[in-house]
């Protein structure tokens, strides 16, 4: 036994030495920025990616024609474009391409590279990818496949080449199908990053010709030739993407200068994939990561570190995500989630405005924000978040009032609802605790109304969680009566809010059947330059205003577009198309030695170019 104790003592002493030596350093890895994140990238192909992990890598490696001006989300500075002009009718953008810029592998940036990058992206147009945002405005269709089915493959490709072309030794022109004020916003997104044409073709990517573009159309992630390769012009270049493990980038010492006219300060940037929260926290505590992903339920674990001066917290900051409950005016026949009135199926139960208003009055927003979001959310009256053109702070919403809820319920369906009872299913995706809380709170408040109407058929409200894909499918098909979802904006413009929330083909509006409500009168309150008129359906009214706002050349604050967006907010509230939207706030935690970070909600992640350690 003595021998055992001797070994034990030796091991302990060894461990102590190890511990002391490893605990000495203060700023760990002074020339490297390390992030510990939940998930890996999906791809390095700019035209394929649509997730924030890939976007973060790509916007550190590649560059776009324009970029966000500091913290601003609606002001842009030239990046790979030296300057740009917009035609008087707002439909043609001409970019003067910067000279003297080199790709990481040595190629020179040319206008041909720019045109090719856009053309390739439009022709690739992968399922569920980001390119629909550009196609919508350049080709006026939802996808390249849709256009090809209309005009044939060759003609569709030709239309792409005609819309985006090199017009001079240093200019590229992008022609829109119709004017779209915020188009420049889309061009700041990482999906329009500029790639080296010769390099891409050399890898076996699209050859620039129209006869066989389908060969490269809609590839699986791994089938793209740019899947795990990168050759940008940005401040960092790819060293290694060890899939599922880490991404290693190295400073581009031949960088053309970028926004601060200098190369990046830190030599390396490493993104480590650490899915387990406890492990990420330990890595941060040990100083081996400069910042980590902190899901909201775990922020409490970071607070002691902030209080002890061992970590810095930025926030709560206004996020670019909104949580909403959506009301379907007419549930699809045969739906498993069919509402009932007086015991009989009633697909259009929620067509009644009084009932929709009742749902809003019965919803205790303050408690929802406090309990589900730790107080870090803001009620939004309308569909446009704070900080975007069209957000109207004066817009009134529905306060929490059980008395008003009761009043509206009594009036719903001419009193039939109160006397005959109803069945309503509130849905959300499985595992989402915040949405469960919201649905159960509304369920409780509505069912409590039964106490005020004894002897009558009851209000039966059920809360149902569905697996995410089933939920999405049912939502798209219009099968859900009330459903909770969140929207993360793609670009910082109100069009990216009114489109999903109100437009005919919008991600959520598609499942709400606004066209069920007929003969809708419109009397402008803010946009008095618009004529008062009657629309066949509520959907027609929404569509008309969304398109008018989008095409409006005057996109300034106080301008005509803003007034139309005010109208859309007002209509969203008056017609009660949602149950109280809330804009979430975000936090960022970093080591105290990290310098230079600022918040731009349009950034997909950390832009390491700005950062230093010290």
């Amino acid at each position: 036994m003595k021998a055992v104790w001797r070994w034990g003592a030796l091991a302990a002493a060894l461990a102590l030495v190890l511990g002391v030596t490893s605990g000495l350093a203060q700023i760990k890895n002074p020339d490297t920025y390390i992030e510990a994140v939940i998930g890996d990238l999906e791809t390095l192909d700019p035209a394929w990616h649509y997730d924030t992990s890939s976007a973060t890598a790509i916007f550190n490696i590649y560059e776009t024609l324009v970029f966000y001006d500091g913290e601003a989300i609606d002001k842009f500075v030239p990046m790979l474009a030296e300057s740009w002009t917009v035609s008087p009718d707002g439909s043609t953008y001409t970019f003067k391409i910067r000279k003297g810029v080199k790709f990481h592998l040595g190629g020179d940036l040319t206008p041909e590279d720019v045109a090719y990058s856009f053309q390739r992206a439009l022709l690739q147009d992968r399922s569920g990818g980001p390119i629909h945002m550009i196609i919508e405005h350049v080709l006026d269709v939802a996808s390249i496949d849709e256009l090809a089915k209309k005009v044939g493959d060759a003609q569709a490709c030709q239309q792409v080449l005609n819309a985006i072309r090199v017009t001079g030794p240093d200019t590229v022109e992008i022609k829109l199908a119709s004017p779209f004020g915020p188009f420049i916003q889309i061009l700041a997104g990482s999906w329009t990053s500029i790639i080296d044409k010769e390099w891409a073709i050399g890898l076996g990517d699209w050859d620039g010709k129209c006869d066989n573009w389908r060969k490269w159309w809609d590839p699986k992630a791994e089938a793209s030739k740019l899947f795990d390769k990168a050759n940008g012009t940005g401040p960092y270049k790819l060293v290694k993407w060890d899939k599922g493990k880490e991404l290693i980038l190295e400073r581009n010492d031949n960088y053309w200068g970028g926004l601060a006219k200098r190369p990046a300060i830190l030599k390396n940037y490493i993104r480590k994939v650490v899915p387990e929260w406890g492990t990420r926290l330990a890595i941060f505590e040990a100083g081996d990561a400069d910042s980590i992903d902190v899901p909201r339920p775990f922020v409490a674990a970071m607070e002691p570190l902030v209080k002890a001066g061992k970590a810095r917290m930025h926030g709560p900051l206004p996020g670019n995500i909104m949580q909403s409950a959506f009301i379907n005016f007419k549930v699809k026949e045969g739906s498993a989630y069919m509402p009932k009135l007086g015991g009989a199926d009633k697909p259009d139960l929620l067509l009644d405005l009084n009932l929709r208003r009742a749902l809003n009055y019965c919803f205790d927003t303050a408690t929802y924000i406090k309990e589900s979001w730790l107080g870090e959310a803001k009620p939004i009256n309308g569909v446009i978040i704070e900080g975007r053109l069209g957000y109207n702070p004066e817009q009134k919403g529905y306060e929490f009032s059980l008395a008003k809820c009761e009043e509206e319920l009594k009036a719903a369906w001419g009193g039939k609802l109160w006397s005959d009872g109803m069945r309503l299913i509130l849905t959300f995706n499985q595992g989402n605790i915040a949405r469960r809380f919201a649905a159960e709170m509304l369920e409780r408040n509505l069912e409590d109304m039964n106490k005020k109407r004894p002897g009558r058929p009851i209000f039966s409200v059920d809360v149902l969680d569905l697996p995410w894909p089933t939920y999405l499918k049912a939502m798209d098909a219009g099968e859900l009566a009330v459903f909770w979802v969140g929207w993360l904006e793609d670009y910082a413009h109100p069009h990216n809010w009114v489109h999903p929330y109100m437009f005919r083909t919008g991600s959520f509006a598609i499942g709400q059947n606004f066209s069920t409500l007929k003969d809708v009168e419109f009397k402008p309150v803010y946009a008095t330059f618009l004529e008062a008129k009657k629309y066949p359906t509520l959907q027609d009214l929404f569509d008309d205003l969304v398109v008018k706002a989008k095409k409006e050349p005057d996109q300034r604050k106080g301008g005509r577009a803003e007034k139309i967006y005010f109208e859309l907010n007002r209509l969203a509230v008056e017609y009660a198309i949602n149950i109280q939207n809330i804009q979430l706030q975000v936090r960022r935690y970093e080591q105290i030695w990290v310098k230079g970070w600022f918040y731009n909600p349009a950034y997909p992640g950390t832009y390491v170019y700005w950062l230093s350690k010290g």
Binding site: K243, G244, K272, I283
Partner: protein
């Protein structure tokens, strides 16, 4: 015995076929939309996105057709694409295997040596303080969930003391691998470090292995301790042990030469169970310690409903268990000549 081994090996493909049918059948319970979630994690931002994905990946095909297509691929040596690992499944297995193998090999040593030693110690000192302490130790190890124990280890020995970091290796070693100044011959860092004659890398790799090895070992110790103790107690009551003592042999000779050797027969049959335990253990251990092995990959794949990765992992497990059990059976016959494999 050779016929027995051949027969067992011939059964392997049938067993694996059964495993794949079972896994496919389980996934058949999920709708095409659910399986499409692997490719569509957010709200579809264009109206036809989900339908296009389902069509593209053939998720709307009847499950037997999907299975048949997959089987055809497998026969051609293609296990499909692992969305989780972002590489072909077969490549993913080969990529992650060395790390898991390295971890398991390092874990086997303390698991077997310490586990058996503790069991013998406990039996020899039956009902004394050491025995009680060992039994409590085993009970705690058996009842403490691996992820709790692992997290406690991580929080204390890494976050607090900064002794043993998670992951497989430090960034400076990764940099050397990229630069080519450290050659990875076997993909196992400790072995490669010896082959490169780089003791700094060896030490760094060992530092990363210590916590996962202890975490993996603790549960196994508990199991092995209890089995060894029971077996040892039974052996110590045998008449030949009394005879050995009566002959005046030293107690250490009685214990080590006569009792322990025979007590090992039932312990050897534990080999298969230990292997299963280790395989189950690496899934959690690798996840907690962010150790890039097969276990972490499998856990991630299962959460994401990455069917091809899950099947790849299951097949790998199947092969390992069948071969592992076969080795145990053969060893068993060698240890105990009374056993005949027929």
């Amino acid at each position: 015995m050779l016929a027995y081994i051949i027969r067992r090996l011939l059964l392997l493909p049938i067993l694996l076929l059964g495993v794949t049918i079972f896994v496919f059948a389980v996934f058949a319970l999920l709708s095409p939309e659910m399986r499409a979630s692997l490719y569509l994690a957010d709200v579809p931002k264009s109206p036809d996105a989900m339908d296009r994905i389902i069509k593209k990946y053939g998720l709307d095909q009847p499950i037997h057709i999907q299975y048949w297509q997959w089987l055809n691929q497998v026969i051609r040596g293609d296990l499909g694409w692992s969305k989780t690992a972002q590489r072909p499944v077969s490549e993913a297995l080969l990529y992650y295997l060395p790390a898991t193998l390295e971890l398991s090999l390092w874990a086997m040593l303390p698991v077997i040596l310490v586990g058996i030693w503790l069991g013998i110690l406990s039996a020899v000192h039956q009902d004394k303080l050491i025995d009680h302490t060992m039994r409590v130790f085993a009970l705690v190890g058996w009842s403490l969930p691996t992820f709790v124990f692992g997290l406690l280890m991580l929080m204390y020995f890494y976050a607090r003391l900064q002794w043993f970091p998670p992951g497989q290796i430090s960034d400076w070693v990764t940099r050397e691998v990229i630069n080519g100044s450290f050659i990875r011959y076997t993909q196992m860092y400790t072995i490669d470090a010896i082959l490169n004659w780089r003791w700094d890398v060896f030490w760094d790799s060992l530092r990363h292995l210590i916590m996962p090895v202890i975490t993996l070992s603790y549960v196994q110790w508990a199991l092995l301790l209890r089995v060894t103790r029971s077996s040892m107690l039974e052996t110590l009551r045998q008449e030949y042990i009394m005879t050995a003592r009566a002959k005046g042999l030293k107690e250490s000779v009685v214990i080590n030469k006569h009792a322990a050797r025979n007590a090992m027969i039932p312990v050897a049959t534990m080999g298969g169970l230990l292997l299963i335990g280790l395989l189950n253990g690496v899934v959690i251990t690798e996840t907690i310690f962010n150790y890039p092995g097969i276990g972490r990959w499998a856990a991630d794949a299962a959460i994401r409903l990455d069917i091809l990765s899950v099947i790849g992992f299951t097949l790998f497990n199947g092969v390992l268990l069948v071969v592992g059990n076969l080795i145990v059976d053969v060893l068993y016959a060698f240890i105990d000549p009374r056993v005949r494999l027929e």
